[in-house]
Amino acid sequence: MYQYDEFDHAFVAARIAQFRDQVARRMSGELSEDEFKPLRLMNGVYLQLHAYMLRVAIPYGTLNAKQMRMLAHIARKWDKGYGHFTTRQNIQFNWPALTDIPDILEALASVEMHAIQTSGNCVRNVTTDHFAGVAADEIADPRAYAEILRQWSSLHPEFSFLPRKFKIAITGACEDRAAIQVHDIGLQLKRNADGETGFAVHVGGGQGRTPMVAKLLRDFLPERDLLSYVEAILRVYNFHGRRDNKYKARIKILVHETGIESLARDVEAEFGRLKQGPLALPQADIDAISAFFAAPDYRELPDETSLMQDADPLFRRWLRHNTHAHKRPGHAIVTVSLKPTGSAPGDATADQMETIADIAQQFSRGELRISHEQNVVLPHVEQRNLRKVYQLLDEAGLSTANAGLASDIIACPGLDYCALANARSIPVAQQLSQSLVTSGREERAGDIKIKISGCINACGHHHVGHIGILGVDRKGEEYYQLTLGGSADNNTAIGEIVGPGFSQGEIVGAVETVIDTYLDQRSSEQESFIETWRRIGQKPFREALYGPTA
């Protein structure tokens, strides 16, 4: 993992001192609310429905056991004993007092964490594959490049007041688990014919009220040019991006309005001016950052072949769904589901965080990941320890064997917490997971991604859910619009609205109808929901939901 140097420590300490002073000046009246609000937002502090909310950055979703324990400590000391892991691989605390936040930031800094640029019209936390560094299908570990981008973008003077927020995602694997094509910039690590490392660069993806799949801007960008090229994109966006309408200010709108060819010409021209300058990455710098992410000293172990013969069917089910292929024999990647049946997706208590930290310390080289699907990942578990890890997770209520299944639902905080939401998300997720599990549909249906957003800002990624649910306010009543066929993988697609919305009392039944239609229509048990959707299209689902004349 990356470790702060003297500069980093001083940088974060200076920022905390600055914010402590800003809070004091707000409380004394020296700063008005209008003056203070953009300052607190730049430090990740929102005012939500019930209280302030602090969003803490977990850079590219990687943290260690000590950091997880600190998050637990913060939850217990300054919040209500829990935190919410988000689709941006961050964590949010829902109840801190403004006057405590400087102390919270100091506590975070003591374990090399912060909340800088978790809000505002700047480059946000760079996200990546939650299996980075350990996935069996990986070309290169994307976290070194994410860290380079983090250092470059932190308080970047030119890009601190962009037309709108800016999100970058990187994947280093063949299978895109980081949803790169729905980000402002999506980077896909690859090697060219000469074996050189570089990136395919996608630009202009995003969700929100105008969902768009990113377009390929450059097929191969050498790694040394990463910062020069990304700076060129940001510079073109900063210059040409719209500032007259916040709903048209993201780079996806610029791409849409100017066309990818025109944007590419502008970016290449700017890149031509930048590429020989100081942003060109020396190999020594790439190597120095990459060294922080070197693989641990794995033991030479054979693959365990008898695990699936274990007598415990619940353990076998957990192995099947919550463990994943590791690049090293005898090892596994473990997903710790934060989606127990009927729970709030992504929430973890302080006790659970500490349990996970303890397990990581003992069985995963002290390392953890947060996935954009709101789960925790133990990246370095020896297969011979899986039984013990499962038992410890089970004792903490964390052994739900549903990773990738229908009850592994992404949901934003929705109207229960968020000041922007129009409808509740969490209760729908809770009812759905309860219903899908007890009815047996989850077991029969296999991999289905259900994603729920409480408003059109789409923090719950509903646009790219195989089944997407968008909460809307219709004359004071919660309604839920259903979209089908979205995906955020190598074949990224925006879901199609299937018809009129459903009331709060109807939406669970509607999703069940969709799943039943899939089960009826699939060509075999091996055909997944999304494959069936792509084969048969919307009509059978629409007719099942609204009748044959629909």
Binding site: R26, M27, S28, G29, E33, L47, Q48, L49, H50, A51, Y52, K80, G81, Y82, H84, A97, L98, T99, P340, S343, A344, D347, A348, T349, A350, D351, Q352, E395, A396, G397, L415, D416, Y417, A421, R424, I426, P427, Q430, G476, E478
Partner: protein, 98 residues
């Protein structure tokens, strides 16, 4: 009928304007009907903003329950008044592992 609500500046808590000041329970809120009373309430709230007691003031529509206590009309405001409609994860976890 309306009540005046805001968030307390120092901790963000949802508060309601009563005759005696800002309360954390909507049951204590002053229920205002006359336009002049609502204007006066908003002016008092604006002074509280200037005095750095609260932020984000609003006059919201309410009805009265059977005990004559105010209940917000909109779901959003009911959730603000009475809290999330789901248990906190820390409470829910206790029941899951019990």
């Amino acid at each position: 009928m309306k009540t005046i609500t805001a968030n307390r500046l120092d901790d963000g808590a949802v508060v309601w304007l009563s005759g005696a000041g800002w309360e954390t329970s909507i049951a204590q809120a002053a229920v205002l009907s006359a336009p002049d009373a609502i204007d006066a309430g908003l002016q008092a709230a604006a002074r509280a903003v200037a005095n750095r007691e609260v932020v984000e003031i609003a006059a919201i529509d309410v009805t009265l329950d059977q005990n004559r206590r105010p209940v917000p009309v909109r779901l959003r405001e009911r959730i603000r008044a009475f809290g999330p409609t789901i248990p906190f994860a820390s409470d829910a976890q206790q029941s899951l592992v019990a």
